[in-house]
Structure formats: C-alpha cells, structure tokens
Symmetry: C2
Subunit: 195 residues, 2 copies
DNA sequence: GCAGGAATTCTAGCGGCGCTATATTTGGGC
DNA sequence: GCCCAAATATAGCGCCGCTAGAATTCCTGC
C-alpha cells in the first residue's frame, strides 16, 4: 500500500501547491488576475489538473477562504484568551479582526466579500467560521441580552470598516480612532453621553 | 442649430437607455450577467456604440453608481428633514439607508462593493455622495466629538449589515432587531448598560 | 435634386476567460 | 517486458471586453 500512500501524499502536496499559488497570485495582483491558465503555469501542470482537485475557480477560492476562517479563528481566540494583563478583551479582539483583514486582504475578500457557496449561520457552516464568530460573542462579555444579534451588529461594523478602508471608501487615516469609537459603543459598561 | 440639438438629445436618450438596460439586467441576473454583448442586444445597437458613450463596462457601472448616490442622498435627506412628528431621526435615516441597500441591491453593489474609480472622501467625490454622508453626520445630532469619524463608524456598521445580509452571511431574520441595537448604541443620549 | 464628405454605425476579429472532450503518455501489476 | 488503467496534456468550445477598419447614413453646399 506504500505506492497508494505516496500517490495520495503527492496529490495532497499538489493541492497545497495550488492553494498557495492562488493566494500568492491574488495577493500580488488581485483575484481578477487569478486565472486557471496562470495557476496551471505556476504549478507547472496543465489546466485540467486543477479540475481534478477542485470543481472550478470558485471552489479554489472557497478553499482559500476556508483556510482563512481557521487563521482568523486562531487569531481571535488567542486575543480572547489573553485575560491576564489585558483588561480590554473586546478591543483586542476587534483589533485582531481588523488586523487580519488588513494583513490578508485577498483572503479576507474571498471569505467575506466575493460570492461564495460557503454556508453561513447554518448547520453546514465550517467549524472554524463558527469558532471565529463565537470568539466575537465571547469578547462582548457575559450577561448580554440577544448576544448573537449583538455580535452580528459588531461583526457588521468591523466588516464595514475593513472593506470600506480596503476599497479606499473611507480613509486609512483614523483607523485607530474609529476602532476606539466602535469599542466604546459596544463596551458592556458604556455610559458615555454625547461622545 | 436644431439638428445638432436633436442629435444631442437622441444621444442623451440612448445614454439613458444603456444605463436603464444595465441596471435592469443587473437587477434580474446580477452584474456578472451584464456583458457588452447583451447590453448592445438590449438597446438594439452594436457593441461599439456603447464605447461612444462610455470608456468601458466599468464606466457604465460607475454611471449607475452615480445615479445611486443621488437617489440615496435624496432618500436620506427626506428622512433627516422629517423632524416633525418623528422624534428618532437617527433610526429613520439608518432604516432608510438599509432599505435602499435592500431595495436596489445591485445599484448598492456598484456604489459600495465592486471596484470603482469613483473617489471617496476627497475633493473629487461626487456631490451626491458627500450629501448622503452629510445626512448621516446630521442624523447623529449636534455636539458630538469627532462627528466625521463617528459617522464613518455608523456608516461602516450599516454597510456591513447591508452586505452581509445581501450575501446571506447573516440571516435576513433579525434585521429589525439588529437595527434597533445599532441605533441604540449610537444614540446621543445612550445610557444603556449590559444590553 | 444631388454629389461629396464627415459623422455614425456595423462587421469582424484579437487575445483571454472558465471549462471539458479527447488524445497521449506514464507507470504499476502480471 | 507487455498490458491496461490511471494520470496528464492537447486542443477546442462558447463566452468575455474591447477595437480596427469597412460600410452606411445623413448633413452640407451647390
């Protein structure tokens, strides 16, 4: 069975090669530059090989997105776990979300902007995606009414800030100020008036 | 000069025909179905005619977006002007924004999601777009610190809710609840604790 | 009324896209 | 070492955005 195992391993390696090539090409030239021809060139195989791993281009992007969900969940959980010495978990988690969006813009785009067949808020939702959302819920703290709706609003705000900044619809200047405003609005002990 | 005037008028009519065809086709089948060939078919002219009105497909979408800015600004200003009998201007303006995004999803997409050459937050920003943003600033009420940043955060949240709902990343159920939560967070007299 | 010429519009085509039917090559099993 | 299945490549389909150059239309000046 060693031969079958080797073949399986080589297939897995080529799968990773495709994902890496797709992400790197997207990172340098954007998703619109990621074509099956260029991808095939980059991995030194012909186009149809791609279709033995993925149903099509959308499927490749979905796979990149799925990896992104895992990385995002990891990053958020690290911040959420940093209880010791970091009093403001909510701010740290929000900052981590925005930092992820900013540091991996094309992965973020595949996850949350481009059309996708990945199911959100359903039984088929990828576990990592659920975990990332749960980290958001947790960061808001206990004893909230409607914790899921509240987290959805927070997520919406974070997502809006991420995409509007990325597409230069709001200026990059002021990201910190906006984050402060947002966090203050969602803090469980917020009592601020006229600010 | 009557002949030149007539030609100019006919050109203007055809321009409108193209915009209307683009918007309608996008509304029924999405922007990815809006191709120069189908557009040319719909207006009963050949493809190159499109290029005598617009630089290309992106330019057509930008024109649709520009019309959208005007409609959005109008809708928001109507709500903002409804002082009499409507105490909660902020909620009405936010609801009007979301309603616009929901009722004209593809126009909204062209305005705020798809790549565009339209400049935001600069001297070249279309007046209607500035007006729409100003309506958001006004809806937040006077005597705020950092009114522009605050409005940007509110806009981010509204935009996030709009796009995440449209792409089915958050469920359509709960739109009202989320709007209530958001407005409550941004109300100038918000004193809520643990909600 | 009509010829000339500019303005307008169309035909046809380029290179590239996602995707796939079919041909070719590769490599393990006997 | 041959056979056959699995793996891979070639070549092509119908579509895309866009454009050069041909064909047509229609205003102008006589």
């Amino acid at each position: 069975m060693s031969i079958a195992e080797r073949k399986e391993r080589q297939r897995a390696e080529r799968y990773e090669l495709i994902l890496a090539a797709a992400r790197e090409l997207a990172e340098t030239e954007g998703w619109e530059a990621v074509t099956t021809r260029r991808l095939a060139d980059l991995i030194s195989y012909s186009q149809p090989v791609l279709y033995s791993h993925f149903r099509g281009k959308a499927d490749i992007m979905a796979a990149v997105a799925t990896r992104g969900f895992e990385e995002l969940a990891t990053r958020l959980k690290i911040e959420a776990a940093n209880v010791t010495g970091a009093p403001d978990i909510l701010r740290n988690v929000c900052a981590a979300y925005l930092d992820f969006a900013c540091s991996r813009p094309v992965v973020y785009e595949a996850m949350f902007v481009l059309p996708t067949k990945i199911k959100f808020a359903s039984e088929e939702t990828p576990p990592a995606l659920r975990a990332a959302f749960d980290a958001l819920v947790a960061a808001l703290g206990p004893d909230r009414k409607e914790p899921v709706f509240l987290a959805e609003v927070l997520w919406s705000a974070l997502h809006g800030m991420a995409v509007l900044m990325q597409s230069e619809r709001i200026p990059a200047t002021g990201a910190e100020v906006r984050l402060d405003i947002l966090v203050q609005k969602f803090r469980s002990d917020s009592q601020a008036v006229n600010s």
